[in-house]
Amino acid sequence: MILSRYLFIGILLLFAVGFAIAPLILVRLVAPARRGSFKQQTYECGVVTTGETWVRFRIQYYLFALLFIVFDIETVFLYPWAASYLNLGWFALIEMVVFLALLAVGLAYAWARGALRWL
């Protein structure tokens, strides 16, 4: 009874896992494998690998990443809101304005504290 309600999630799970695994299996079966030392190297966007794996990143990357997430989340909320805007009415408009204002304040704060200056 309860299980049937979760059936679709189960199907989705199977499909998602299968979608990831199937190409790997297909490649194993179909593609010819000729290994070589050059081919076994770590793939780094096509350029020659330099340095160790354990390099330190500047803390500023994280600040930019955080700010990026702010806008990412904004988009995630704005799309469904815009799609059903006509059915939602005034209350949703006010809520979205409040949400955007909060994000704007966050951006203004980060900007004023110098998070956007690359040192």
Binding site: L102, V105, A108, Y109, A112, R113
Partner: protein, 574 residues
């Protein structure tokens, strides 16, 4: 309190007005943060602390006025009666319990905001005050939460803000350590807690506290957890989460390091405001939502959460007090003291679960937590004073304070005696009420939980030793160095108000008992009352909650029936 129902405004406007203090404080946090970056970017740290402290205090006083409008009649027309309101689709309570407790939290916050700027421990003042204000918003919402997810969100918002302010003294490694330990323990405990809540939702089909209670208790009365494995796991996981927030043994390990390492104002907010709100939440989850799982009706020793909570309480009292005996650092001493105090309060929580008069037990819990919070905030003010003037906050640094600052030392004396639980101070009546409520839990007045109360009394005697060590340092030791050279007003206010609260409610305990009792009744209000939840008056109530509750009741009834049949295999017809 007026007995007439206030004129209903448009329901929606009324709901927004009822959470006006929370909304205002959240907004004010932004104002403080932006004021910091806009006007004080290049100002010296001490000056920023002073100005931003006053700014934050102004906002808090306005929030206090808005919160006051919930208990006294005002033109806003939002004063609360004993009638049981729930707002925003039954996710938040708006009743005397939220009204009175939010007043207590906001007064504590004002004292904290007076205290904080006296000591220049960080240069992130905008962030500090904003986070303190936001954590308070979360505390107020936590006190009002009537639904498991709202409660969890409020709890997480609160602790997230506290993790950061614990680590804000960036010059000292101990502060980062405090924040990190608090964060690591806290996030793991939250995961356990959330898993427990999800099991509760799975077993009852609802997240509303009163609907959960209805689903668990049903018509058969309280059955405890006999044979209910999923329920036991849920209770265990919830206890891990709550135990961390309350710093109860065995989930206390973070507390001493965090209290000692964090700057005193941050530590004081973790020890007072957060603990007060967490205890309200714990009482609501255990005594209200999981009331049916406390124990079998009338017998506290049967399987249920009452017994493990009683054991946690006993362990917290004993270990907290014994460990406090050998502490040399004042804040660490306060940390172990607060672990022990959490143990005493848990006695009241157990009583609320198994007593036939749970409102009395909950009233005692609230009374104790309010008086404890004021006393502890005052004691932390002294720690901040020491750290500011001497750079350390060891117990020895208090030497000779009695001669140098007789009035301040007298206030600290009152606080320590109140924490021991000596009459005529508020701590005595708090402990009395807690232990009395635990003694009267049995069927037809039969004594039960006697062992727990006896242990509590023994522990009170043990605790006297280390509280008196503070007094000995102040009065019997010669003054060393510069202790208490200057008296900042920021230390004066929390200390004197704390002592005044301990003395006033010790002399006239009824003045606080009555509001707290009045608050306890609606906090526990029975599951039959749907808390004024109707789709006609409430635009947020879109889900058919009655159906959910009925389905959950039916499910639980079947579970109970199965459990009974398992219990009595030989019964004919089973």
């Amino acid at each position: 309190m007026p007995t007439t129902t206030p004129q209903p405004l448009v329901p929606l406007a009324r709901e927004w007005l009822l959470i006006a203090p929370e909304l205002w404080l959240a907004l004010w946090g932004l104002v403080v943060l932006l004021a910091d970056v806009a006007f004080f970017r290049d100002a010296p740290s001490a000056r920023r602390a002073r100005f931003l402290g006053i700014l934050a205090l102004d906002g808090t006083l306005i929030a206090l006025l808005l919160a006051l409008a919930r208990v006294v009649p005002s033109p806003l027309g939002i004063e609360l009666t004993n009638q049981d309101y729930s707002i925003f689709g039954g996710t938040l309570a708006a009743d005397p319990s939220t009204a009175w407790l939010s007043l207590a939290v906001l007064i504590l916050l004002s004292l904290l905001l007076v205290l904080s700027p006296t000591w220049d421990f960080t240069d992130h003042w905008g962030e500090f005050f904003a986070l303190v204000l936001w954590s308070t918003v979360a505390m107020l919402l936590l006190i009002a939460a009537e639904e498991l997810l709202t409660l969890f969100l409020a709890l997480e918002t609160m602790t997230l803000c506290l993790y950061v302010i614990a680590a804000l003294e960036r010059d000292r490694k101990r502060s980062s350590e405090a924040g990190l330990k608090y964060f690591v323990y806290g996030s793991v405990a939250s995961a356990f807690f959330l898993f427990g809540l999800s099991l509760i939702f799975g077993l009852t089909g609802t997240t509303r506290l009163h609907a959960v209670r209805e689903a668990l208790v049903g018509s058969a009365g309280s059955l405890g957890l006999e044979g209910n494995i999923a329920g036991s796991v849920a209770v265990l996981l919830v206890l891990v989460g709550l135990g961390f927030k309350l710093a109860a043994v065995p989930f206390h390990a973070w507390a001493p390091d965090t209290y000692e390492g964090a700057p005193a104002p941050a530590a004081s907010w973790i020890a007072t405001g957060s603990k007060l709100a967490s205890f309200v939440a714990a009482t609501k989850i255990l005594a209200v939502a999981l009331g049916g799982w406390a124990a079998q009706t009338g017998s506290p020793d049967t399987p249920g959460w009452a017994l493990p909570v009683a054991l946690i309480s006993a362990a917290s009292m004993t270990l907290g007090n014994l460990a406090a005996l050998s502490q040399r650092n004042f804040k660490r001493l306060l940390a172990y003291s607060s672990i022990a105090q959490a143990g005493y309060v848990l006695v009241g929580v157990v009583a609320a679960g198994v007593s036939r008069d749970p409102a009395r037990a909950v009233g005692a819990v609230l009374f104790y937590m309010v008086t404890y919070s004021f006393a502890t905030l005052g004691a932390f003010a002294v720690a901040a004073w020491l750290a500011r003037d001497l750079g350390t906050d060891e117990l020895d640094d208090l030497d000779g304070l009695g001669r140098r600052r007789p009035i301040m030392a007298l206030c600290l004396l009152v606080l320590m005696l109140s924490l021991i639980g000596l009459p005529p101070f508020a701590g005595f009546f708090g402990k009395l009420a807690l232990f009395m409520s635990a003694l009267e839990t049995g069927e037809s007045g039969r004594l039960s939980l006697t062992w727990l109360v006896a242990l509590g009394l023994i522990n009170s005697a043990i605790s006297a030793y280390y509280y008196v060590r503070v007094l000995r340092a102040m009065y019997l030791r010669p003054a060393r160095g510069d202790v208490g050279r200057s008296l900042p007003s920021g230390v004066f206010w929390p200390l004197t108000v704390g002592a005044a609260v301990a003395l006033f409610f010790g002399l006239i305990p009824g003045a606080l008992f009555e509001p707290m009792q009045a608050a306890a009744v609606p906090l526990l209000a029975s599951g039959e009352d749907p808390r004024g939840l109707s789709p006609e008056t409430n635009p947020f109530a879109t889900r058919p909650t009655e159906e959910d509750a009925a389905r959950a009741r039916e499910l639980r009834r079947q579970q109970i029936e199965q459990g009974r049949q398992r219990l009595q295999p030989g019964t004919p017809g089973a």
